[in-house]
Amino acid sequence: MLVAMISITLQKNDVFRAIENPILTFLSPIQKALSTAGFSIKEKIEFIPQIFQLKEENEALKKQVAELQRYKQNLLEYQRENEDLRKLLGLKEKNLQFDLETAEVIGRDSDDWFNIILIDKGKNQGIDKDMAVITNDGLVGCIISATANTSKVMLITDERSAVSAMLQRTRDNGIVRGSINEVQKGYLEMDFLSKDANIAKGDIVISSGLGGIIPKGIVVGEIVEAQKESHQLTQYAIIKPAADLLKLEWVFVVKSEKGAAQ
């Protein structure tokens, strides 16, 4: 009976949905309430030791603001220059903007390999399967199923996840996968990098948009190590995810990509 259950729900997705939907609908409000209460308690506890660091941090931030003001001026200058050059070249600027939906993380799978989180938004808010999920820092994962008011997100650290990505500096392409290797736990592996690819520690990895699910240009992480495969035909790299996937509280679901022409 148990084997038949696996076989039926694995092959017929709608049967699994029919089981999954009522359970998620029933448990998600409880989960959300508990999660909200838990986060507010956690925040208060974490705030106590932070008080002592605040003065130092304030000074450092003031310096940073001054520096950023200078950068901002430079950037405005570059932007103007860029626009002029584009006009000269006759290029059409593609200003990608994402239609984002904010969602709260209300639950997480405790398993080491299958990293799934539950968010409090679903089909009623326009969220559906295969939409990318991001934070301010970078890529989180993608939606694998959605009910009326909840969705399951498979994190990029999940063993089953594979994202087409490229190195921002050299444009070398590869596939970013989750790893269950204990040594690299929480890190990602980038495979199929060309053997001639110039990879340096600290290189930023962005999504290439080739898979069709994750839009192009979202930061995935940063290279911490690169090595040649044993067969010497390709290289692989270890990546530290840009988003802190262990401390997810709020995420954004990329509902669609709007291409605004200039």
Binding site: I6, F16, D109, S110, D112, E159, L246
Partner: protein, 167 residues
């Protein structure tokens, strides 16, 4: 009454587990409260009760976080049944026995889980990585197990006292 309370307890443990994994992700890695509860029920009552509790909690975990029903359902219920059977003639008063049984049960659970995951194509990593992950997480379950055992024992005791004893 007993069934209702245990059913509710499984739901509560599943929800707490999902929330705590999210709040303290790095520190709760591998900890599985409903699994430990199914093991403890197997030890305190019998293997059939453990199997049923494992079935319900596995079913809930599959529905909440899985992509199909069966992986956790089978792995938890079967491992709880094995723990119940193997502890039948053991004196379980000492915490160390509970911890040892929960550790062994968690390893069996992970092993069954891996077999199903490989069989259904959910896992593709090389075996050495898989084996390291099979051994390490049960330690977390082992440490917390005496508390859950005590909770299960107290609940059983309460039900026996108020519902089963005939004067």
């Amino acid at each position: 009454m007993r069934t209702l309370v245990y059913g509710l307890l499984i739901i509560v443990l599943t929800v707490i587990q999902a929330t705590f994994s999210n709040l303290f992700g790095a520190y709760t890695s591998g900890l599985n409260l409903p699994l430990i509860f199914a093991f403890c029920l197997s030890m305190v009552k019998n293997e059939r009760s453990g199997f049923t509790a494992g079935f319900i909690s596995g079913f809930l975990q599959d529905a909440l976080f899985g992509t199909f029903i069966g992986m956790n359902t089978i792995a938890i219920s079967v491992s709880a049944y094995i723990v119940g059977l193997s502890s039948k003639n053991l004196y379980k008063g000492r915490a160390v026995i509970t911890m040892m049984l929960v550790f062994i049960g968690s390893v069996i659970f992970k092993f069954i889980f891996v077999v199903i995951a490989l069989f259904t194509g959910q896992l593709t990593s090389s075996p050495q990585y898989i084996m390291s992950a099979v051994i390490l997480p049960p330690f977390a379950n082992m440490i917390i197990s005496p508390l859950i055992y005590l909770l299960t024992y107290r609940i059983e005791d309460f039900f026996d006292f108020y519902f089963n004893l005939k004067y």
